[in-house]
């Protein structure tokens, strides 16, 4: 680094009351007391009591959010005949930046396509919910639902296999049609 690139910053000049700290200290204490008063006495906190109150139930100006734009856990869509729509093209697992999709392709038992996924596992703990798989899918087989509050007691049960992803479709198709 050249000396000419070094910018020497001067400290801002303090005004006379500021040099004695105490006035500014008292102003700061006043600000925090105002906040405490607002929360304790007037009940004006900014808290959403999560399991009882949910952001999707609140208007946006009160801190709510639109669930329609939220990216939650995945589902594997079925076609009209109830077969898995996926054609095992590996586009989603290629596009996935977190590399959380593992597909094993097999020859399709049906006439209208060549391949289908024999196994389709998504590690929901690795997933970063970016939605790239959804974008990449040529047949709209993989989609992100709006469900965000999933829990598990082990890492193993957070790896969703094909059966589970299809079950997620069955449970969410009414609320979120394809």
């Amino acid at each position: 680094m050249k000396d000419s690139d070094v910018i020497m910053l001067e400290e801002p000049k303090l005004s006379v009351p500021d040099q004695f700290y105490l006035p500014q200290v008292l102003i700061g204490l006043g600000t925090t007391m105002k906040h405490m008063f607002n929360v304790v006495v007037r009940g004006k906190d900014r808290v959403i009591q999560y399991p009882e109150e949910k952001r999707e139930d609140l208007p946006v100006e009160k801190g709510g959010m639109t669930l329609q734009t939220y990216r939650g856990i995945h589902r594997l869509n079925k076609d009209e005949e109830g077969r898995v729509k996926c054609v095992a093209c590996f586009m989603c697992s290629t596009a996935c930046p977190a590399q959380c999709i593992h597909i094993e392709a097999a020859e399709s038992p049906w006439q209208d396509r060549e391949k289908y996924p024999a196994k389709f596992d998504i590690d929901e703990l690795r997933c970063i919910y970016c939605g790239m798989c959804e974008e990449a899918c040529p047949v709209d087989a993989i989609e992100l639902t709006h469900y965000y509050d999933i829990v598990g007691l082990t890492r193993q049960e957070m790896i969703f296999d094909k059966a589970k992803l299809l079950r997620v479709f069955d449970e969410t198709v009414k609320a979120e049609p394809m």
Partner: protein, 470 residues
Amino acid sequence: MIDWLLAHIPPWLIILLVAHFAILGTVAYLILLERKVASWVQDRLGPNRVGLGFGIIPVLKDFHFWGFGQPLADGLKFILKEDYRPKNVDRVLFTLAPGFMILVIIISIAVLPWGGTMESSRTITIPTSTSDITVYAQQQLPYGSTLIGSPMLVDGTADQYTMTYRYVFQIATLNIGVLYILAVLSLSVYGVVIGGWASNNKYSFLGGLRATANMISYEIPLGLAVLCIVLMYGSLDLNTIVVRQCHNWGHFLPAWNVFCQPLAFVMFLVCIHAEANRAPFDMAEAEQELVGGYHTEYSAMRFALFFLAEYAGMITTSAVCVALFFGGWDLPGLRGPASNPGLSYSLILCIVRALVFFAKTIAIIFVFMWVRWSLPRFRFDQLMMLAWRALIPISLLLLAMTAVVVYVFHGESYDGLHGPMALTLFGANLAMTLLILVGSRFVPPAPATNRKLIVAGSRFRVTPLPAGLN
């Protein structure tokens, strides 16, 4: 029941047990209060889920009680966590440090004046063969109490005597209580330093170093501020200092020192913040710079002991602050006879006084928390500058000023300050404040060391420094 207890157990033992467990229990709830205050300042509500039912107990589990179960759950967590000790630490000192810290803080509660002097009487049987009944009666009294007058023979009996005795409602009646507190509290930094050294970690070590420098600097103005009060009353006994504040100035204003020595109170308040290692002076555990400071390597119960010690230290220092500046347990209406306001004839009054004392202490602790969540941490050089360039000269001046006032009103102060002297002190305090405000304009500015980091002169590029900066 209470009579039986008082007759067989020395009163200080009961007070000790109650005070000990009350303070340790309060410490747990102070942590909850700290989190609540932090939340309120930030427009949040704070922990409010863990009730007293812990999700198991049938009826209670449906109520949250504003998070009152949180401290218990926290304590349980600390006990159950892995007590990890890293390799290459000094095993003995590493284990010793938290224990030492909590020990020092707990023994410092011994001289807190909880409720003045208790007067009580009791009827005992003194064998007729006893030669000196006063000495015999003294031996029958609770330990630490003094006999008032001589035992009186109960009418119609040969060996039943009634005796009146007094004991001070505190754990240890020490006539150098203030000195004891100052001495013991300054030992608490050893826990920090030993912990920091034994951890074999550079951040812990730096935390210990900072704590030492902090303590050395702020002990001086702390001691000087206390000396101002000691000088006014001529006593080092906390109970005496409290009792002498138990009257009114002009019929309505309690004769508390905060009203006649406001400047000393501000000094003291600032210094006990530093003493208790609390923000904005918490250099020893500056999270943003030193990971966790001296307790970086500590976990589980050992860390909890450091944590407890910090809050117990707050209780002690706040209690001393209340005793010195806010009249201790004094409230108009709780005082005894005018000749000796500390005297009380009922145990209930003593307990109420102890509760008042405690409530005032909690109020001061609330100020601690309020300050912590309002002010940013001082930089280290600012910390030293505040102590050595501001607090120490001001408190020295204040001490000299108090000495002059005490000399002028000599003798009068030793049974409590009277109106004229208090007014003079208050006026002198105001004059001092003005003097400081004006005088500090003429003090030359501090050297700019540590203010600017010059890339040009650093080890990466050794060039001569610009003119004017050396």
